[in-house]
Amino acid sequence: MTATDIKQPDLPASASRRSPAMEVVAALGRSGSFLPGLVIVLFWVACALFGEYFTPHDPLADDIINALMPPSADNWFGTDQLGRDVFSRVIVGSRDILTVAPLATLLATIAGTTLGLFTGYFRGLVDDVISRILEAFMAIPVVIVALLAIVALGTSKTTVIIVIGLSFAPIIARTVRSAVLSERELDYVAAAQLRRESALHTMFVEILPNVIPPILVETTVRLGYAIFAVATLSFMGFGIQPPSPDWGLSISSNYGMIGGGFWWTVLFDALAIASLVIGVNLVADGVQVALND
């Protein structure tokens, strides 16, 4: 006989390495931007969850007599035009944006991934039609699409989530689609077809796991832009509604007096938003570096 009698070549697995997940974690640590970003984000998450127990004043309590007081020992960041403590408001001001923005991002990721998988996998007519529609969507800035939709539908947190989620979905779909298009050329997809796997199996079991890294990167990047969009909409009066201590909303109601020198009513909220988006952005950068290694 042939096969069995032949001396077997020794077949050890080549240099067994760390598991891929561990490598990503290690790379995240090395990236230099991930950890600082995470600290900032976690700080604001903690403030959103537990801030109300630590605020020196009630963030919603008016005190007209003490309105527009500059920063002092009692009101560290001063008071706004209704006499509310700016420091307390900044601390809890992340609460709404940190629910709306992540939920919108989640919606965008789910919708965008599904769309991207379908258009990339089926190509042809399905792809052409959907891609055209998505492109039309993307010809208009997200903020303006959101504006139109919110004006049409009326303002509520749910509307903001849905509108921003759906506006971001085409962007994620585009990323997923191009990743799927290149995956589709790989022979494991042909091998699946030769086993007559269903299209759904091929898309979600074969292809999806391989396009997770770009989806993860895009999602963290989008989270930054979702915060951007929610804050902007709130600033324009179409996002989070009073009496929430939301940062964008606070700036919106106070910036008219900026010429009068009441800088503390807007500066701290602005810095808070800036720190949150930069924090998310540092996390996104770290994820990108780690996954592209």
Partner: protein, 676 residues
Amino acid sequence: MTEPITANALELHHLSVAYRVGGRNRAVLRDLSLTIRPGEAYGLVGESGCGKSTVALSVVRYLPRNGVITAGEISLAGENVMKLDNESLRRMRAERVSMVYQDPGKALNPSIRIGRQLTEIFELRGISGQGAIDQAIAMLNRVRISDPVRVMQRYPHQLSGGMQQRVGIAMALANDPTMLILDEPTTGLDATVEAEVLDLIAKLRQELSASILFISHNLAVVSRMCDRVGVLYAGMLVEEGTTEEVFNNPRHPYTVALLRCLPRGGQRKDQIRLDTIPGFLPAPGAKITGCPFADRCALADSRCHNELPPLHDLGDRLSRCHYHERAQDLPRTTPGNIAAAAVVTAREPVLRIESLNKTYAAHGQALRAVNDVSLDLMPGQTLGLVGESGSGKTTFARLLLGLVPADEGGTMRLDGKPLAPKLESRSADQVKAMQIVFQNPDSALNRSHSIRHIMGRALRTLAGLKGAAQQKRLVELVRSVRLTERHLSVKPRQLSGGLKQRVAIARAFAGDPRIVVCDEPTSALDVSVQAAILNLLADLQTKEHVSYIFISHDLAVVRYLSDQIAVLYLGRIMEIGPSERVFSGPHHPYTEALLSAVPKLDEAEQSRVRLDGEIPSAVNPPSGCVFHTRCPRKIGAICEEQEPPLFDSEPEHKIRCHIPFEELARLQKKQEVVTA
């Protein structure tokens, strides 16, 4: 030779290079010393990952960002390369050393015309304007480009691969270098184009004084081009000597084993299993105590494992082996001969193809990728498909599998039953009866899934097995491709290329197929791994009585495994017949050219059939016989006007040529007499 007048062209002294990966230095070259004398052509061979290209990049000081020279010295024409400041380094590159690269399409700037890319070299030497243009034209003439003025106006993407590489060579020679480095210059080119480029390099060598460092994984190419050769293993020089000595009388077990892995001299699957090299190349950066090859060497003893052998000077040659005098006693890993398999008498083909066509629409034009192909495949036999790029061999395979539907009109029958063009219209039995092993296992295996998942899924969908039955069969299957259960839990990236290809083979066999298409299954692998895969395929065929459609550009590999061979050119079968007849001839002029284009290890310089021009585009195939534009045996107008039929020349052997069979026999016989 007496005392050399000039300094050596290149000297490496104890060169060590490492790449920094994941915060650690991983050694790629270890204590490498070699010398290239003026005017000499030195070949550096080795398998992938042994550090060949790193040598080239170190010499010109162009290592990747994470590459560091950790020790040693490089001296080019007596000058220490590592001590040069930026300006002297630039001048050295401009005046003394040139390089020709593996991928000519990428090595040329896509947005600059060829002419400009050449003239800028002359401008460095103070020749500008019309003078530089004239020089550039002269240079293109020198690399045998027939229409240099037109080529000067082109952008790289408008040239074929062969032309691009000629331009690359012209650019390298434009500064009249004293040292010319060729890094896999013909890898990736078609066989006939490769032969032309090698011819050109050989001719230019006679015209030029440059010393050459020729880097290649292809032993035969190096043996043809070089005076001396060094064998690199795990970043170390393990053997060096004149080309003839090293290839005919190797003195290191690695060289011995490497040469034995190659199917040569018409070896066939029913006579012999190829020798293999067990084990794996040490990973870059691996700690090596003792001989780097010891783990894979049947001659190794404890001394080999503990003590690094020095480079023994054997008088004009070197070997890094404690037992260099016994190197050729290295025992085979596989038996030298095998009992012939029982001859199968079935005369009903498992697959019958009649006038199969495939037309694509390309930029509004019809592209006939497969043109009127008919053939039979017998059970338990291998049909080899041979042809260069654009020959339609891969498209043909995809038509059979139904991955791409064939045009209306042709017929395919599997075991006598009609086979629908579309995969979706085939019966479940037909689907599992035909499977494929792809060229690149990295692409063929889903990198997110474990081997267990990959194989389990195939068993479930193709064999309908679940639960305990599936597990039982899984283990059998894994063992049949000589993997162990240990390999089941890992993901593809944790396996070497050869092991991955075994997984892919196992998957193809999951549903007990009647036919397995092998699409260049070994061309992404090193020769030592290739041999093991070919042996495995041959063993599985004997055991499972499966038929193969074996696609390869490597004629020796095809010859080893095939019973029948079809030669394709521009989607047409030019010749088909029993393997030995096709190889021994008389053959179609194209087959003749293909065979003579392959550089061979065991033959001295042979006179070759040369092909002119490029492979034409399938969008616009030549009139008459599609091969007439390149055919060295063209007989006249009839070749341009009439497409010859595929004619039965002798029993079972068909040739598509206007030249009568007897005449072909006479012509090709004469050729042999001349060479002998």
